[in-house]
Amino acid sequence: MENKEKFFTDFNNGLHRLGRVTLVAMVIILGTIPFVMSVYFNTPIDGAGFWAGFAKVIVVYFPVSVVEFLVYAPMLGVGGSYLSFITGNVTNMKIPVAMNAKDIAGTEVGTPEHEIISTISVATSAIVTTLVIVAGVILLVPLQPVLQNEALLPAFNNVVPALFGALGLKYFAKSPKIAVIPLLLISVLCIAVPSMISQTSILIIPSGGLALLIGFLLFKKGKI
């Protein structure tokens, strides 16, 4: 038993080392790609535009990253966490896959067996996803002239409204009590001050904050 515990501790320490090294390598690779593109196109990155966009993104998404990390890491274990956070699609893919594998193998979260099963399931899932998307991308290449046809421009110009229409229905139906006030306020603001319409990147900050506050008050009152 003691040997098993020691083996598992050593194994986990090895995964931490490997995970950190590969994550750092991946950060360097990913961070370099936009600069390579910039050189390839012979066009500079807009520094002011980058910082303005980055500041808004970090305000919204850094707290989400922290919450996801705190909630999901114990469910995924060491190897599963490193792989999930680098391969993405955590909520919609990696967590369900890891939980499905846990049920099939009959392991308990927090045990060495669960850590092994979780890592195997997440790694398999990431490899399969990559292969499926590679196959899809190969099929997409000959379709490029169709996808780039001017007639399809309205479709791709409205990809964001399509996303938020679908997501909005899902989230508003889940939490109508949280949704009503932010939706009304933002609508009234955009009707009264048309210049705000093109400033959704700023509007999401007060709207998100207000929704969080309303959610917290409803939670405290036991209404959600």
């Binding site: 600069f35 593109m37 391969t87 790694a123 996803t129 499926v132 009707i191 048309p194 929704a211």
Partner: protein, 249 residues
């Protein structure tokens, strides 16, 4: 054919993305092999380990197709190679599109409009999307070991109320706020006056209706398999509707 799209779909980018994804796949294979061997050493049944691999592979197939549909949706604005990269590494469709929209607005555009994009704007949007999503990675690099050790050594607290904490609702509330901001802006944009545009609101409504139909079958009829496609399919149907609406308007 749009010149910008031809440029962001160049063969060179396919090569770069393929190299980055090869590195990531090798990483997955190493983790898989190491864990499988450790499982065997710990005395786990090989049949269970193999079953985990096959069931995870089959379980992943349908959601992977959904991610592929996301690549199609994103490729019309950012090209196939970058969409392929973003939806294969760290990202998810909801994040990528929202961040691309934020980045485009920060560059002075009204939003992620293909006909207003050029390669200069593209590289800046690409950098915001890439750096903006690295939060979880940096947290993992610096805190994962400490956090998991702490969780493991801490005795499990009994939840006397039997109710999940606010953390479970916080992310949902955040996304409700996010959606409210966009839908509210589309409502404002649809009001008839100079510069108004009803298309984004119509597309959002169509996507919501299609999503409602999916939700009906998922929640009421128990067709859980549809959950894998509901978001991407709702979006693609609404986007197709945009082409038809454009012809009519």
């Amino acid at each position: 054919m749009n010149e910008y799209l031809s440029q962001v779909n160049s063969g060179f980018f396919y090569l770069i993305v393929a190299l980055a994804l090869t590195f990531m796949t090798v990483m997955c294979v190493i983790f898989l092999v190491k864990s499988y061997r450790a499982g065997v050493k710990l005395g786990m049944d090989k049949k269970v380990l193999k079953k985990t691999i096959t069931s995870s592979a089959t379980f992943t197939l349908l959601p992977s197709i959904s991610i592929l549909l996301g690549v199609v949706a994103l490729s019309g604005s950012l090209g196939v190679p970058f969409s392929w990269l973003r939806l294969s590494v760290i990202g998810a469709l909801q994040y990528e599109l929202n961040v691309a929209e934020i980045a485009a607005q920060s560059l002075g555009l009204p939003g992620l409009k293909v006909d207003m994009m050029d390669t200069g704007k593209f590289v800046t949007v690409a950098l915001v999307m890439t750096i903006g999503i690295l939060g979880g990675i940096f947290i993992s690099i610096f805190f994962l070991k400490k956090y998991l050790n702490k969780v493991r050594s801490k005795p499990k607290k009994e939840n006397t109320s039997g109710k999940p904490g606010f953390g479970a609702h916080a992310t949902t509330a955040m996304f409700v706020g996010l959606c409210a901001a966009y839908i509210g802006a589309y409502i404002g944009q649809a009001i008839p006056r100079a510069g108004s545009d009803i298309m984004p609101l119509l597309v959002a409504i169509i996507a919501a209706i299609v999503m409602a139909v999916f939700e009906y079958f998922i929640q009421k009829k128990g067709k859980l398999v549809l959950e894998n496609f509901s978001l991407a399919a709702s979006m693609l149907i609404a986007m197709a509707a945009a082409v038809l609406i454009n012809m009519v308007l």
